[in-house]
C-alpha cells in the first residue's frame, strides 16, 4: 500500500519548512529511520528519518521548495501493510473508518462523518429588544457527506456565526454604536478590523453630513458655504501625474526606510572649471550647469559604491545591483513632476551628459516625455537649487536606492586657505534606502560627489 508522509511541524509551532536535499530517489528502498533528506525550518536544518521501511514511490517537492506543514512530501510503498486497502488514488478519508495516527502539529485528520459542527448563535441587532422572540438556535449540521466541501462548509459556518472580530474592536464598535453585522471585514477570513470600523464610522458620518447639508444650506452654515464657494477653496480631482506622483511617493516613503545626509561644499573650483569649459569650442553646443557636473560625479561615485545603484526586490527576496546607471532627473513640467532618466549615463562624458540633459529637459518641458524615458531609472538627481533652495530631504523614486538633491550655489563667507573668504558654496542632500545602503556607503558616496563638485580634478582620483 502507498503511504504518504506529510511534513510535520518540526519545531514547536512552525508552519513551513524548506526542502534542502533528498538523500533518496524514487525506487530506492529505505529502512525505518534511515535519513531520507534534510529540511530547513526557521529554527534549524534537520535530518528527516524515514517513518517507514519500504520503497520510495514519489517525491513531491524538489530541493529548494518551501513546503507548508501538512503537505505530502514523499510517499512509500510499504510492504505488508493493508493489502486489502482501497486503491491508492482514493482519498484517504473516504476509506473505511480506520485509525489514522494523528501527526502532532497540524491537528487531527478531518473525519467527514464525525466532525463537530458548531451551533449557530443568535444575535439580536444592536439596540433591538431582548432576543426573547428570536428562534432558538437550531444546531447547524454540516452538509452531508463529502469532505471536499469542508472548506466551503467552514466558511458557511463562519458566515452564519456572529461577525468575526476581536474583543477590542467589538468594544470600539459598541462604544461607537455600530453593529458589526453591517460591516464586511477586510481582514483574514473576513475578520472585521479596527480600520473597518473606523472607515465605516467615517462613511456614516459623511452620510450624516450629507443629510445635514440640505437644512444647512437654508440656514447657511460655514460648512455648506465652504462646499459651494469656490473663491475660498478649489477642489481638484486627483488624477494623472499628481495621482501617480502621490502614489509613488507614498509607496516609497512607507516602504523604503529613508535616511538623508547633507554635505556643504565649496564648489568655487568646480564653477571655475565649468566656466573654462563653456569657453571651449567643444562645449559650445551644450549647456553646462552644476547639474552637469553633479551627474558626472554621481556616475563616478556609483562606480565606487554600487549599493547606491541597487534595487530591493522583495518579491524575489533579492537585492539587484545594476551595472548601469539610468540617471533620473527630476523635472518640473506643466503636467507636474516627472523623472525621465538618461540611459547608461555611466558611459557618457561631461559633454554627452550635458547634451542628454539638455534634450531631456526640452522633451519634458514640451510634455513629450515617453513612458520608456520614465521607466528603468536606477538613481535620481533633483535640482532644487534652481528654485533658490539650499537643502531638502528628497523622497526616493520608487525602486531606486538613492536620490541626490542639489542646493543653490551661493556666495558665502567660507574658510579658505586659513582665512574667511567669499566662496561659492552649495549643499548636497542625499537620501538613500537604508535597507540597501548603510551609513558608511551613503556617506562615502556623498563625500565622493562633494569632492568632485569642489574639485573636478578629483574625478581622476575616483576612477
Amino acid at each position: 500500500m502507498i503511504t504518504e508522509f506529510r511534513l510535520p511541524d518540526l519545531g514547536e509551532g512552525l508552519t513551513e519548512s524548506e526542502i534542502v536535499s533528498w538523500h533518496v530517489a524514487v525506487g530506492d528502498r529505505v529502512e525505518l529511520n534511515q535519513v531520507i533528506g534534510e529540511v530547513e525550518t526557521a529554527k534549524a536544518v534537520v535530518e528527516l528519518p524515514s517513518p517507514y521501511a519500504g520503497t520510495v514511490t514519489a517525491i513531491t517537492h524538489e530541493p529548494g521548495t518551501t513546503v507548508e506543514v501538512g503537505e505530502v512530501i514523499i510517499a512509500f510503498e510499504v510492504p505488508g501493510q493493508g493489502q486489502d486497502a482501497p486503491a491508492a488514488d482514493q482519498p484517504a478519508d473516504e476509506a473505511p473508518a480506520k485509525r489514522v495516527p494523528t501527526l502532532v502539529g497540524y491537528g487531527a485528520e478531518p473525519e467527514s462523518s464525525k466532525r463537530p459542527v458548531r451551533r449557530t448563535r443568535q444575535f439580536a441587532p444592536a439596540g433591538a429588544a431582548a432576543p426573547a422572540a428570536a428562534p432558538t438556535g437550531v444546531p447547524a449540521a454540516a452538509p452531508a457527506g463529502a469532505p471536499a466541501v469542508a472548506v466551503a462548509d467552514a466558511q458557511a459556518r463562519v458566515q452564519a456565526d456572529r461577525p468575526r472580530s476581536t474583543p477590542p474592536v467589538r468594544k470600539l464598535a459598541r462604544d461607537m454604536g455600530i453593529d458589526l453585522a453591517a460591516l464586511t471585514g477586510s481582514g483574514d477570513h473576513g475578520l472585521i478590523t479596527r480600520q473597518d470600523v473606523v472607515t465605516f464610522a467615517g462613511g456614516q458620518e459623511k452620510g450624516a453630513e450629507g443629510a445635514a447639508e440640505a437644512p444647512a444650506s437654508t440656514t447657511g452654515t460655514a460648512a455648506a458655504r465652504d462646499r459651494t464657494d469656490t473663491s475660498r477653496e478649489v477642489r481638484t480631482p486627483i488624477k494623472g501625474v499628481r495621482k501617480f506622483t502621490a502614489a509613488a511617493m507614498v509607496q516609497s516613503a512607507f516602504t523604503a526606510p529613508h535616511v538623508t545626509e547633507f554635505l556643504t561644499v565649496d564648489v568655487t573650483a568646480g564653477m571655475e572649471f565649468l566656466a573654462k569649459l563653456r569657453a571651449a569650442r567643444e562645449f559650445a553646443d551644450v549647456k553646462l550647469t552644476p547639474l552637469t557636473l553633479a551627474a558626472r560625479a554621481v556616475c563616478l561615485g556609483i562606480a565606487r559604491q554600487p549599493s547606491l545603484n541597487s534595487h530591493w526586490d522583495g518579491a524575489a527576496n533579492e537585492i539587484v545591483t545594476k551595472n548601469y546607471v539610468n540617471l533620473g532627473i527630476a523635472a518640473a513640467t506643466p503636467r507636474g513632476l516627472v523623472v525621465p532618466n538618461i540611459k547608461d549615463a555611466q558611459q557618457l562624458g561631461l559633454h554627452g551628459l550635458a547634451a542628454a540633459l539638455g534634450e531631456l529637459a526640452a522633451t519634458a518641458r514640451a510634455g513629450k516625455t515617453q513612458p520608456a524615458d520614465l521607466a528603468g531609472g536606477t538613481f535620481s538627481i533633483t535640482n532644487i537649487g534652481v528654485f533658490g533652495i539650499d537643502a531638502g530631504t528628497p523622497i526616493l523614486n520608487p525602486g531606486e536606492a538613492g536620490i541626490l538633491a542639489l542646493g543653490a550655489v551661493r556666495n558665502t563667507p567660507w574658510e579658505y586657505q586659513g582665512t574667511v573668504a567669499l566662496r561659492q558654496v552649495m549643499t548636497l542632500s542625499l537620501s538613500f534606502d537604508h535597507r540597501l545602503v548603510d551609513g558608511e556607503q551613503g556617506s562615502r558616496f556623498l563625500a565622493d560627489v562633494g569632492a568632485v563638485m569642489s574639485d573636478p580634478a578629483m574625478a581622476l582620483a575616483l576612477c
Binding site: 508522509f5 506529510r6 511534513l7 510535520p8 511541524d9 518540526l10 519545531g11 514547536e12 529511520n33 529554527k43 534549524a44 536544518v45 534537520v46 535530518e47 528527516l48 528519518p49 517513518p51 485509525r99 495516527p101 494523528t102 501527526l103 502532532v104 502539529g105 487531527a108 467527514s112 462523518s113 464525525k114 466532525r115 463537530p116 459542527v117 458548531r118 451551533r119 449557530t120 443568535q122 444575535f123 439580536a124 432576543p131 428570536a134 428562534p135 432558538t136 438556535g137 437550531v138 444546531p139 447547524a140 449540521a141 454540516a142 452538509p143 452531508a144 458557511a156 458566515q159 452564519a160 456565526d161 456572529r162 453585522a181
Partner: protein
C-alpha cells in the same frame, strides 16, 4: 573557555572524581571506591545495558519527533551515565523529582514507554502515576523541582522515614532563585535530599562558564551542603557519588550536592539548533569521552562482554525502540473533558463550574446527521 567548562571528564587532577577513564581504564578514587566495592562485572554489564537502552530511547524519540509523532523531545544523548548511575543508586521508596530530560530515569524506574511519550506527544499532561513509581512528573519550570524535593524531604523527617528525595537539575537551574531557596531550606532543616546537578555545559544556548565562574559543586558548601564533583560520563563514579549522598541522607546527615560533569551531545530540544552556538570542536572533544564506549572498552578489556552479551544488550535496545514506536504511534487522543482530571484530588467548585461550561460548549458541536443549515443570523 572558562575554568568551569574547561574541566574535562578525563583529567582527575582537576578535582573531578572518576572511576572509569575515557579510554576504559579503571581509576582508583579513595573517596568513591568504598561505595562501589560491591559492583562486579555482571552489574557493570547491566549498567552498560541500561545506558544502551536509554540511548536507543533517545534516538527513537528524536526520529519520532522528526516524523511528526512527537511535538517535542529533549535529547539526553551523552548524559546516559549520569541518568543510569544516579537512578541505580536509589531505593524504590526514594522519591525522584526530575527535570524534563530524565526520560531515561523514568524508563529505568519502570514507567511505561508510551506513557513517557504521551507527554511529549501532547496527548497527556502526565506520563505515569507519580506514586506508583515514586517519581514526580517531568518539571518544565527550570529549578522548581528542587523546592518540591526539599519540601518532600522535610516531610520525610517529620514522618520519621528513612528514605530520601532526589532533585535532578541542570547547570542552568543553579542560577534560579528556587534552587537557592531549596538549598537554604535543605541545609536549615537538614533535609534528606540529594541535589543531583547534571552540568551538561549548556543552558540552552548559554555556556556554563558564563553563569558559573567556579565549578558549580563549589557553591554547595556555601550553604553548608557537602558536595562532590564527579565525571558525569562515568556511570560508576556517578553511582558511587549518589550512593555517598544517599548514605548521608539515610543516616541523618542531611542534604548533599553532586555535580555530574557531562555534556549534552544533542540539541536542547528538537526545536533547537545547537550548531548556532556550540564550539566546533566540542562534539569531537566530548565524543571521545562517551559514557557507553568507555564501559564497553573496560568490559571488553576484561573479557566480560562477549558477542552473546552484546547481542543481548542490542536485543533489549531493539525491543525498547519497537515498543516505544508502537506505543507512541498508537497513543489514543485524549477526551476533551479529561483535561479536568488529576487537577485536584477533591471536589473543586470552580473547576466543576468550568467543567460544566466546557461540557455544554462541547455539546454545542452537534454531530452531523444530514439536516440542513438553519437559523443563521437573525
Amino acid at each position: 573557555m572558562l575554568e568551569a567548562s574547561a574541566n574535562s571528564g578525563a583529567s582527575p587532577q582537576t578535582g573531578i572524581h572518576q572511576l572509569i577513564a575515557a579510554d576504559g581504564t579503571s581509576v582508583a578514587d579513595g573517596e568513591l571506591d568504598p561505595f562501589v566495592a560491591d559492583v562486579d562485572d555482571a552489574q557493570l554489564v547491566r549498567l552498560y545495558s541500561d545506558m544502551v537502552a536509554i540511548r536507543r530511547i533517545d534516538v527513537e524519540a528524536t526520529a519520532l519527533q522528526r516524523q511528526g509523532q512527537l511535538a517535542l523531545w529533549p535529547p539526553m544523548l551523552g548524559q546516559e551515565a549520569s541518568q543510569v548511575g544516579s537512578l541505580r543508586a536509589l531505593g524504590g521508596d526514594d522519591f525522584i523529582f526530575p527535570t524534563y530530560r530524565e526520560n531515561g530515569v523514568a524508563y529505568l524506574r519502570g514507567a511505561d514507554l508510551a506513557g513517557i511519550m504521551s507527554t511529549w506527544r501532547g496527548s497527556a499532561n502526565t506520563g505515569w502515576d507519580p506514586y506508583k513509581f515514586n517519581m514526580a512528573t517531568p518539571q518544565i519550570i527550570i529549578g522548581s523541582q528542587t523546592l518540591h524535593a526539599t519540601g518532600y524531604a522535610m516531610g520525610l523527617v517529620l514522618d520519621g522515614k528513612e528514605t530520601l528525595s532526589i532533585a535532578y537539575l541542570g547547570d542552568g537551574a543553579t542560577s534560579q532563585g528556587d534552587v537557592h531557596e531549596s538549598m537554604v531550606f535543605a541545609a536549615s532543616f537538614q533535609a534528606p535530599v540529594i541535589f543531583f546537578c547534571q552540568n551538561n555545559h549548556w543552558a540552552i544556548s548559554e555556556p556554563v562558564g558564563l553563569q558559573a565562574h567556579v565549578p558549580i559543586a563549589g557553591r554547595a558548601p556555601g550553604y553548608g551542603i557537602p558536595s562532590l564533583r564527579v565525571d558525569g560520563n562515568d556511570v560508576l563514579a556517578v553511582l558511587a557519588a549518589t550512593r555517598w549522598a544517599a548514605a548521608r541522607a539515610r543516616s541523618g546527615g542531611g542534604p548533599s550536592f553532586i555535580e555530574a560533569v557531562t555534556y549534552r551531545m544533542g540539541a536542547h530540544t528538537t526545536a533547537d539548533d545547537p550548531t548556532r552556538y556550540r564550539g566546533v570542536t566540542e562534539l569531537e572533544e566530548w565524543g571521545a569521552k562517551d559514557p557507553i564506549a568507555r564501559v564497553k572498552a573496560l568490559l571488553q578489556g576484561r573479557g566480560k562482554l562477549d558477542d552473546d552479551a552484546e547481542a543481548a544488550v542490542a536485543r533489549r535496545a531493539d525491543a525498547v525502540a519497537a515498543e516505544l514506536r508502537e506505543g507512541t504511534i498508537n497513543l489514543p487522543d485524549p477526551a476533551p473533558l479529561s483535561v479536568f482530571d488529576n487537577v485536584y484530588t477533591t471536589e473543586h467548585a470552580i473547576l466543576d463550574r468550568q467543567r460544566d461550561h466546557y461540557e455544554r460548549y462541547l455539546a454545542g458541536f452537534a454531530p452531523t446527521d444530514g439536516t440542513t443549515l438553519e437559523g443563521s443570523r437573525s
